[in-house]
Symmetry: C2
Subunit: 437 residues, 2 copies
């Protein structure tokens, strides 16, 4: 039986999970792949802390170069995360002819093109199933299963921290701050949570998924990103009253000459399967021309779910090594020469429905003036709800619009904010439902 | 660019969809796989009826041998279904060194072992993504993505006809017969619906999924199968009142020395994501040791969703041909020598929870006598509901049990049926919830 030597960079949560699976499941993995997957070396700056797993077999080193330059090592698993030094380590591994498995969405989103090109030149595999959606096989599904499909749209819950917080607000009426604190206590949020709650982690993943879905270059910088800090229990209650749920969605839609790529809190119909994805669970809904609507659901993060995805990549590489078929599936699903630049629609041009919540002054004529300004900006209202009165004496007024252009909405809200009808800039949440399609 | 020649056997609904995708999407497929996938020949007894798609390129023949013996043809796509002549056609194709793609779950469940062995001997690929779950990549997920997992359990809605009928009864209170008639009118059920509604189609798929999940021989004959003919609107209403939904589930669970494999109407908690899978949609929930709970959701049948799955197999084979890596992934996910016989638990030995509905005589002491017989058989009751009175003068009494052994339940129900407490054998629906795990 062929032995394939593996080196891990980074013995954090996921690295520990991968080491654990490679060790505990070595018989299962050998029985499925026909290769002995030997965890030869693990590099981490901290090799002393007890990780609670059996680490008696691999060499533990503090210098990543001991992995990157070891001629025995076939596969390097990068689980350090972030840009520095992960980027340089991956580049060195690829240049040294090693296959690379990574879960590093931030790096792939920022400089995936360079990594893909380097892997290609060095005729090695670069795989990243664990970068998006944790244990869900979304990368494989896009690269291999949906080959005959044009992907019309993807809507995805890709960040467990945000989904946990929004579920919590929805279930028990906590404020955002309270829900974040609970999430941190339970380990669903980092001490420094901004990468998650401001939507950037979700945007990294969307950049990768859009590239795979549409055969386009990875483009992070043109993705519109908003997080969930401003969502209040009141918005969630209003959403419920309209039959909607609020989720932080990654939305990728294909149009003829461009794509939409945006991350923001979104109201979705309670008939949408994504609305039932609660707690820290993730899901990816895809609407493709042959399959119709389909969805993957599972843990998007966590030690073992993420490690499971890393292992699927390692097994794929092992099967390629045994069959002599490295590079069998192009890294981004399309051969490099067929990957195009497809522009991302400017947010101003977006056409969708909107939920608008005004903190309106409780005076006669205010509602008519707000509605008037919306009308002047071609925005047509589908329903209005006014509910009680705030402690401040203002009245929350909610309007759901028909499909309107983002530019009109922003212009109208700017105008309304300048009047004395409202005490602050209105809350805007975009809606994805049948009408907004 | 390499040309790969494809022959289709059977130009029914799915065959037409595959021919359509191969023709309309030939540029996309070439751009993704790097091969020209040329639909060379289609064989069907009826080559005259207009299928509404462009069939100007392939040769249309009535003799399957024109495909099976054509030395140019690399891949044979069998979409005839059933045993005869599909089995012989596939065997001939494999023996002639052709890769085979099939959606034929009935054949795979009955004689998959023989087909796998023949493919292996002739060093060709045999693929069947479209046999289970339509467009959902469940075969690929089990063969490739979950390699490091032990699959603890699978619960799946695998038949759109049954799910449509049960959803219909649940939504508008139709009887089974009315819902079946509507399903037939809308094209969700066959004129001869027994393969679907009696659970056999679901059992075929479970036999395949169990083999892939657990590295076991395909075993159809030991799967317990019940259909949905006896489900009444009353049962669905009672289920709702307990917070349950009734679905026809395929259940595959792994125990140390055996597996469970059963198909029957099942009550599941409304917190279970499968309970939200409505209409003709399918879904497969998997609980594996590394991933935790995960689910695939999508169209389980229909022309284009099924054709999409067939195309993913053709693309996989094309990529294998180009990379010279035929047989790269073992057909059943494990190399033949590692596939074991794992016995299926006898139904009598099953431990689960039960919903029991009695048509009880409206006499004093009846409830106590029924409860007494259950108690004598070690069956403990978790809740009881009695509701109104039937036109016949009997009273529907429903009991939910704690976990009990199927053998005890059947013995007790036999005894109760012999008494004059009830007018017919009670209705039994098994429950899958947290307590029943």
């Amino acid at each position: 039986m062929k032995t394939i030597h593996i080196g891990i960079l980074g013995l954090g949560v996921v690295g520990t999970g991968v080491a654990d699976l490679l060790t505990r499941k070595s018989r299962l993995l050998a029985s499925r792949t026909g290769a002995h997957l030997n965890l030869k070396t693990i590099a981490d700056l901290d090799i002393d802390t007890d990780r609670g797993i059996d680490l008696s077999t691999p060499a533990l080193v503090t210098d990543a170069m001991a992995v990157l330059t070891d001629p025995d090592i076939d596969v390097v698993v990068e689980l350090i995360g972030g840009h520095t030094p992960a980027r340089q380590f991956i580049m060195t591994a690829l240049e040294n002819g090693k296959h690379v498995v990574t879960a590093n969405k931030a790096l792939l989103a920022a400089c995936g093109g360079e990594l893909v090109e380097t892997a290609r030149k060095n005729r090695v595999d670069l795989m990243f199933e664990a970068s998006c959606g944790g244990c869900m096989p979304i990368i494989k599904t896009l690269r291999e299963s949906l080959v005959a499909n044009d992907i019309n749209s993807m809507s995805a819950i890709l960040n467990g921290t945000c989904n946990y917080i929004l579920s919590r607000i929805s279930k028990d009426g906590s404020t955002f701050e309270e829900a974040l604190k609970t999430a941190q206590e339970l380990g669903f949020a980092e001490a420094e949570p901004s990468l998650d709650i401001d939507g950037h982690d979700t945007a990294h993943k969307l950049a990768i998924l859009n590239a795979l879905a549409h055969g386009m270059e990875i483009n992070l910088s043109d993705i519109h990103v908003e997080g969930i800090r401003d969502i209040t229990p009141m918005d969630i209650e209003f959403a419920k009253s309209f039959g909607y749920t609020i989720k932080l969605l990654a939305i990728g839609k294909r149009h003829k000459d461009h794509v939409e790529a945006r991350v923001h809190p979104t109201m979705i119909d309670n008939t949408n399967p994504l609305s039932h994805v609660d707690h820290s669970m993730n899901a990816i809904a895809i609407d493709a021309d042959a399959t119709g609507k389909t969805m993957l659901y599972g843990h998007g993060a966590g030690m073992m779910p993420t490690a499971s995805a890393v292992l699927s990549d390692i097994a794929d590489i092992a099967r390629n090594i045994i069959a002599g078929s490295t590079g069998r599936v192009p890294i981004l699903g399309y051969p490099q020469e067929n990957i195009r630049h497809i522009p991302i629609l400017s947010m101003n041009e977006l056409m969708t429905r909107y939920y608008l919540r005004f903190e309106a002054q409780d005076h006669p004529g205010v509602l008519s003036r707000i509605a008037g300004i919306l009308g002047e900006n071609k925005i047509s209202i589908s329903s209005v709800q006014q509910q009680g009165r705030n402690a401040s004496g203002t009245v929350p007024v909610v309007m759901i619009t028909h499909v309107a252009k983002e530019e009109w909405i922003q212009r109208a809200l700017g105008r309304i904010t300048e009047t004395d009808c409202v005490i602050k800039r209105p809350m805007v949440i975009r809606i994805e439902d049948e009408e907004a399609q």
